[in-house]
């Protein structure tokens, strides 16, 4: 997978997030402050600009560019979290021009670890981690089991989607939704939903 693959991934993220912007904001209205869709759309619109301003030469450059832009332009909780995650992805992939599925799995693993460390959220706390963590586990298994790229990525996407849906019955322990206590139960976590979209964009 070279820089073209990753820029394609980023383009696809931009497209789907713009498409789902209002749905994400609605989810955030239910248990947060009604800005998650707007925040990510603002951030990734800036990413599109950044990509055309300084076209990245390597996967690492592309992902670092995304991370820096999100940190600079999103704000809120999701800005630093997604931003640091993408920066960590870039750091792990270094300046290789071509990376393997295994490299990606390892990089994603460390990116999720970064989110855990920054936000202090564990799986089950009803955050983006609930979509990201299972996706990475699934991808790692797929690599071990020797799946083809496309199949492996689809397994990861399915795991992320299931993880997001699985946040519905959970009671939030991190982020704004935790203020609601039991009232946070019954709603999908907006960050988990956006994380699932981001992973799904890998196999568009």
């Amino acid at each position: 997978m070279d820089v073209t693959f990753f820029t394609a991934w980023i383009e696809e993220i931009i497209r789907t997030l713009a498409l789902c912007r209002d749905r994400l904001t609605r989810l955030d209205a239910a248990i947060g402050d009604a800005d998650h869709g707007t925040n990510l759309d603002r951030g990734f619109t800036a990413v599109r600009q950044a990509l055309s301003d300084t076209p990245p030469q390597t996967p690492g450059q592309a992902l670092t560019l995304v991370g820096n832009t999100l940190i600079r332009r999103v704000g809120g909780a999701s800005g630093p979290l997604y931003g640091s995650a993408f920066r960590q992805l870039g750091r792990s992939l270094g300046d290789a021009r071509e990376v393997s599925l295994a490299d990606l799995a390892t990089a994603l693993e460390s990116a999720v670890e970064t989110v855990r460390r920054l936000g202090g959220a564990a799986e089950g706390d009803k955050t983006m981690v609930d979509a990201l963590a299972p996706a990475v586990r699934e991808l790692t298994d797929a690599v071990r089991e020797g799946d083809k790229e496309r199949a492996a990525l689809e397994r990861a996407a399915r795991a992320a989607a299931e993880g997001a849906r699985a946040t519905i019955p959970l009671r939030a322990r991190k982020g704004r939704a935790s203020y609601l206590g039991p009232r946070s139960i019954g709603h999908e976590d907006p960050g988990a939903a956006s994380a699932a979209l981001i992973v799904a964009a890998l196999c568009a």
């Binding site: 707007t38 940190i71 999103v74 809120g76 704004r176 009232r183």
Partner: protein
């Protein structure tokens, strides 16, 4: 949705343009998203920087000026600012004595201010944070992101700001700021939701017969709902929560704060009830604020914030302040 705006995306920048035109003793950098005093910081004075999502006006930009903040960074509506403006503001107001970051306890605010502080430290600017978390509606436990920062932010910014004007060192300013927070408690009640320009419709639906108890300042739903009730009962609900968390005693600084859409005449009615409640508990209000200070866009409702004063804190509260939203003594 009907609002006095030009476009949902330009609300914050258009409002900053208005602030720039209205307050010549402020320097407003619309592009960078930063408001600071027109006069550069005095050498040796600790700088105070705060910030957070917009939609809480006058917080924080309305509290920039002599005796209070040196700079404020307004983010998008209900979205904490990114690290960049915080870094710019922090460097701009550092006069060699370091900078205090007044941070409301929300995941987004904490993360962005932390990132900014790290980068400032790398560049040799001493930064200490004070975390404001006064909202008793949220239980501080493993099961939450901790208590929210709400009304006490005004007290922290005013009192720490006054101390900084006296050239107290950073550690002392930070310690006093933390003390104010520790001595303060808040509780809020909403009669209506608020409508963000981006969403265009109320964040939550509240039937005409109900009120939302224990709300934050971002239109988040509260902990529970109750039937609409007379001001006396609503004030008692708020005061019971505060009194139950930190028993009322001695001399108090009390703010009855409007959420943005509630008229002043109603806030005075609530203040009358709060004052009677406090008197009934043997404590006494010696300083007060009644008005819109920490708002949630057009939400109708109120919050009460109580701070247990010491003589030192009372003196700092009375010290001169000259900002758009809080002014006395000069």
């Amino acid at each position: 949705m009907k609002k006095l705006i030009n476009h949902a995306d330009s609300v914050v920048s258009d409002a900053l343009t208005g602030m720039a035109a209205a307050h010549e003793d402020l320097r407003v950098d619309v592009a960078a998203g930063m408001v600071r005093r027109a006069t550069p910081p005095r050498a040796g004075k600790v700088g105070l920087v705060s910030g957070g999502g917009s939609g809480h006006e006058p917080l924080h930009t309305g509290f920039v000026g002599y005796g209070m903040l040196d700079a404020a960074c307004p983010g998008e509506i209900f979205t904490s600012p990114a690290p960049d403006p915080i870094i710019t503001a922090t460097k701009a107001v550092d006069a060699g004595a370091g900078v205090l970051h007044v941070v409301k306890n929300y995941t987004g605010d904490v993360l962005n201010f932390e990132m900014a502080a790290e980068l400032c430290a790398d560049e040799g600017v001493r930064v200490l944070p004070v975390l404001v978390d006064d909202d008793v509606a949220v239980q501080d436990s493993l099961y939450t992101a901790g208590r929210r920062g709400t009304g006490a932010t005004v007290f922290v910014e005013k009192i720490a700001g006054a101390l900084a004007e006296s050239d107290a060192p950073l550690e002392r300013v930070a310690a006093t700021a933390a003390e104010v927070n520790a001595r303060s408690r808040s509780f809020g009640i909403a009669l209506t939701s608020c409508t963000t320009p981006a969403a265009g419709k109320p964040t939550f639906d509240l039937p005409g017969s109900e009120v939302e108890l224990g709300i934050g300042i971002h239109g988040e739903p509260g902990r529970s709902r109750a039937g609409a009730a007379p001001a006396r009962e609503l004030a008692a609900i708020a005061m019971d929560a505060i009194h139950g968390d930190q028993p009322l005693a001695g001399d108090l600084l009390v703010m009855v704060n409007g959420m943005g859409g509630t008229p002043l005449i109603e806030l005075y009615i609530v203040f009358a009830e709060v004052e009677a409640y406090i008197r009934g508990r043997g404590a006494r209000i010696v300083r007060s604020l009644v008005g819109n200070y920490v708002t949630s866009l057009d939400m109708q409702g109120f919050s009460v914030t109580v701070c247990h004063l010491s003589d030192e804190l009372t003196g700092l509260w009375d010290a001169p302040v000259h900002t758009p939203a809080l002014r006395w003594g000069r």
